[in-house]
Symmetry: C2
Subunit: 329 residues, 2 copies
């Protein structure tokens, strides 16, 4: 038999409403009784029934993270940071790896106060938007729920600008151009615009499609590039994982980073510094990203109308050891 506040009440000899107050640390209960109640509760091994609490209260202090594909280093890091941030704010976060729709159903049934969506695919429409506050991390535009996004174009501009200032003219871009993922497309556009702006030659040659987001995709793409006629002096990789593959391919081809080839990666996470070669990277620092997402969902919970539909965060470039002035040949 599980023990309830009524059991405590009879054990202590007070009414169970008093027990409830005491357990919630209400100032309406004398210290002495409160202490006694708490002690007995502990002795009895009392565990509050959350379902009952939730039935009465409005909030669950629970946030769901819908993340169908458990991959992407940068996402893992972000998820962990977001979790920390919620903990600080007195919330718990749980995660579902089902489809967005299923995850949403689960979270709704369990009365999560809000949900965050991590999803690469921008095409899917989500129903049931009305019932629960949602914030999405970078899933395209034109959605009817708030999105925290990154100014990818600016990020790529910053990367190209940085390399251009180091004298690089032959810059390659390795990323995933799947039309399904708006974020990748934005990165590409940003690169394209920046190249034009700095009047750098730009053709099909410096664009390599990974057609995937794993490090191996990046590896294969870079390998292909380095076997082609066009050997760049700098490469921009569009994610932590992809860049890991790029670095690998470069080294296998016996080029030295950054002497022969400079590398800049997207994803501004501290882990970039722990790679075999600490990579200079652009992107919104995870901490900033996490804080913004958490604050947004918290605001949405308090007042749904109050939250802007799209928030675009500005990226930063963090220098590490993967770039050098271009060599004069």
């Amino acid at each position: 038999m599980t023990i309830t506040i009524k059991d405590i009440a009879t054990a202590v000899g007070v009414s169970y409403s008093t027990v409830s107050k005491a357990l919630n640390d209400s100032p309406l209960v004398k210290q002495e009784t409160k202490a006694k109640i708490i002690k007995i509760a502990k002795d009895l091994g009392y565990e509050p029934n959350f379902a009952a609490q939730r039935l009465v209260k409005k909030e669950s202090k629970l946030i769901g993270l819908a993340w169908p594909t458990l991959d992407r280093m940068a996402h893992s890091v972000l998820a962990t940071k977001i979790n920390e941030e919620f903990t600080k704010n007195g919330y718990s976060m749980i995660l579902s790896i089902n489809s967005i729709q299923t995850s949403l159903d689960i979270f709704k049934r369990y009365q999560a106060d809000g949900v965050i969506i991590f999803d690469e695919e921008s095409t899917k429409t989500v129903h049931a938007l009305t019932t629960i506050p949602i914030v999405s991390y970078g899933v395209g535009k034109g959605k009817d729920f708030p999105i925290v996004d990154v100014n990818y174009q600016k990020a790529m501009y910053a990367a190209v600008e940085y390399l251009a200032k180091l004298g690089h003219e032959k810059i390659a871009f390795i990323g995933d151009f799947s039309p399904i993922d708006d974020r990748q497309i934005e990165k590409y556009r940003g690169f394209q615009n920046a190249m034009q702006h700095f009047e750098l030659s730009f053709s099909g040659d410096n664009l390599i499609n990974t057609a995937g987001l794993s490090w191996y995709d990046g590896y294969i793409a870079a390998k292909r590039l380095l076997q082609s006629a066009f050997i760049p002096t700098a490469i921009i990789g569009t994610s932590y994982d992809i860049s890991a593959g790029i670095v690998r391919a470069i080294r296998e081809a016996n080029f030295i980073i950054p002497k022969d080839i400079s590398v800049v990666s997207y994803d501004n996470i501290p882990q970039m510094g722990n790679m075999e070669i600490p990579l200079t990277s652009v992107g919104v620092p995870v901490d900033v990203m996490a804080k913004q997402i958490v604050q947004t969902i918290l605001r949405a919970i308090q007042n749904r109308q109050d939250v802007p539909l799209i928030q675009t965060l500005d990226p930063q470039l963090t220098e590490r050891n993967s770039c050098a002035h271009v060599r004069n040949i």
Copy 2:
């Protein structure tokens, strides 16, 4: 305002207890009324209040997976498989990336029917065991809750045996010897025993400690090995990630797999076949592992006493293209 069965009741013109029955597909309700109720419920966008249901019923059909560290390819694959398996069985799975203890608290509060623990560290003791059925995936022995484990020794024996039959004598073992993780220790023991059994020379030389479980750890360790005086003809890597790093290091050192060096990896997941070089691997196939874990927790939920404390699964060796007969020099 969220809509309840009472709203449906008034809308349809029946009592709300009838609505409840209809929604639960009870045979006690006339087909006709049932259909009408279900239709109206849908029209109204009714969503059952889980807290209320849970308060009355005993089970939540919810399983928690406590997984503090979101990493390890093999674990991701396993988690995904387990999730599928639960879905098939009418359960939902959610995941927490907090500490085991915190995760447990969360799951308990949300009335999960059971929890699965993924944890590398075998030292931590978990409280609150009494309240909720727990199954752990390979967290050491001597715990007071059921564990589904792998016969790591047998796995390593199978790997060594396989290589020995191909004529290999110089076999290196690259893994994490952190005393914190019993599973890694078991793998090491298995290797040691097998080497002795096949009378293969065995010294500090063929043992490389990665001191970590990421691919980069494997990479560094293998690199170190290949720069040493002892160049093996075969290498055993203790996980998908570590082996990925090993393969990388081998190729960077201009050895060819499997011509120069054969590789066998632990972790029997289909993804081993998608690597740059499809790796022959040993381990319990994920499907088997997932099914076993799910069945175990389901049994534990029905009858706590019924479940064996330790279940050790037998590994299988799956041949791919990373091993060859040792070359005669």
